[in-house]
Symmetry: C2
Subunit: 163 residues, 2 copies
DNA sequence: TATTGTTATACTCTATAACTATA
DNA sequence: TATAGTTATAGAGTATAACAATA
């Protein structure tokens, strides 16, 4: 079930507090406010570094490889919306640390298949809690209604990022 | 109220829909998913450049100066959580374009007061719609309930970023 | 001495352009 | 010719260290 088929209810039944308070805000104004909030929040999250100091792109690459399997460098670049040279660099950084592997494409000799290694998976598992510690601490301090709002927002934001 | 006394649980009386859908997701798991969604979404937003090509920090500086008035460079650096040299650079870029002004502090000769100029305010007003066009377009395509979720999330995220 | 801000310098991430290898 | 990927190079943003001016 996704939010497209089962939308959250608006005004009358939203929980008190943050949800109902801004329900009437127009898309244009909301975009401005939301963008500022997203950028500020993201900067705070990014400030919490893991020991390995992987870039956002590198973490995202490990994550997508873990989720949907080996991809070519071009596919990774398209997925992350960076140029091929940037992805070459990001993947090389992962491969140098043993977190990802590069292998020849079975049929097309031009292509390179990138996969997450076992060490990469372990890194994803092991460091997510540490990487997310800052955010999780704040989430835990929220009241349940606000946390539910963010859980819902997460799905909506993912769809927006995919669009 | 902290993470230990109030575990990441959700009130069963929450509404159905987007919020309720993920109501049981723990703070740790939610943190991971939310972080990925925030980072991906933010990267997409940032990819939409304005003509002036101000950095996130520069826009945020203009915005905060517009919102709460003149601040010293140190105060701006603390607020944006960057180091003083980075803020010097950001503010110089704004001042060079006439979007902000630098003036001597009335009592403390060491300090510099930074203020948004009229051109800076105009830039904020004029370019927000353009900067936010990408996001606003996606928001407009959402059903109202999902938009309400993001409006609520915006406030929660702002609080988190402030914490 | 401590604090504010700047300069010097380096690092990371990204991009474009030019190149190699393969289809 | 066209595509996949790499190398070379540059630009933006940030950081630390050293320094200047002021409190």
């Amino acid at each position: 079930m996704n939010a497209r088929t089962v939308p959250a209810q608006v005004d009358p039944s939203l929980p008190k507090g943050a949800g109902g308070r801004q329900a009437r805000q127009g898309a244009a104004t909301l975009a401005a406010d939301l963008r500022v909030a997203l950028l500020r929040c993201t900067r705070r999250i990014r400030a919490e570094k893991s020991d390995l100091e992987l870039s956002d792109t590198q973490y995202s690459v490990l994550s997508v490889l873990d989720r949907i399997g080996p991809l070519t460098l071009r596919e990774l670049a398209d997925h992350e919306r960076v140029q091929p040279p940037s992805m070459t660099r990001a993947v090389n950084g992962l491969a140098d640390r043993g977190l990802a592997t590069r292998s020849d494409h079975p049929v097309d000799g031009r292509q390179v298949l990138v996969a997450v290694s076992e060490a990469g998976r372990a890194e994803l598992r092991e460091t997510r809690r540490r990487r997310d510690a800052w955010l999780a601490r704040r989430l835990a301090e929220l009241d349940p209604a606000d946390r539910a709002v963010l859980a819902a927002a997460k799905d909506v934001l993912s769809r927006i990022a995919d669009s």
